[in-house]
Symmetry: C2
Subunit: 124 residues, 2 copies
């Protein structure tokens, strides 16, 4: 099945291509997808595929970085919808057959920097 | 100097211990610390140490997960201040001497789940 890094690369490439059959093939049958920020969980390959199929907006995803060891990977991606860009971070684990067993996804949003640290920071 | 995984473990352990000398020793002299959500950047070991020394609140940090390859690592941590918990994700790279060369830190906040996907999700 290949390693977890290539599985995660395939997860994003097939999502971007809307190739949902190949996307499903990266996922274990009993995959778990969690969003800690909303405390939502999606269980099972079919539901996780549908969650992505039904995700609204004409989004486009580009991988910024993937870090992986033998059984785990993390991806940092940039998702654009029109002029808007969001950054997402996903923690992946591999199941016994090498497919993705679990995903924990974070979608951090922009916020105003707190006062009191201007002497240490620059803006970009 | 050890690998980037143990350097990141030491980064968090020494931060938690407020052992700022040992904390500084995990960082390259020209380390870069970035917060994409606020578009802030802190440059150099001295400023990054001060940023952490001066960070307000009686925070306590616990490592949830670290994923690392040879030159990169990602940490997912839980930071508590009183009753409040925040989750942080940091992307680390190693410099030539094995110390931390760059950190990109995300602090995702809780939000309400969007409507329209209740048929696919459970809450936790």
């Amino acid at each position: 099945m290949g390693d977890i890094r290539s599985m995660v690369e395939s997860y994003w490439a097939t999502a971007q291509a809307r190739d949902w059959t190949a996307f499903a093939d990266t996922l274990a049958v009993d995959v778990s997808y969690e969003l800690p920020q909303t405390r939502e969980r999606v269980l099972g390959r079919e539901a996780v595929v549908r969650f992505n199929v039904e995700y609204p907006g004409e989004w486009s995803v580009e991988v910024e970085r993937i870090v992986a060891d033998d059984r785990q990977a993390v991806s940092w991606v940039r998702v654009t919808v029109g002029e808007e860009e969001e950054q997402g971070i996903g923690f992946f684990t591999a199941g016994p057959d090498g497919r993705i067993q679990s995903i924990v996804d974070f979608w951090p949003e922009a916020y105003q920097p707190p006062a009191g640290r201007e002497h240490l920071v620059e803006r970009f």
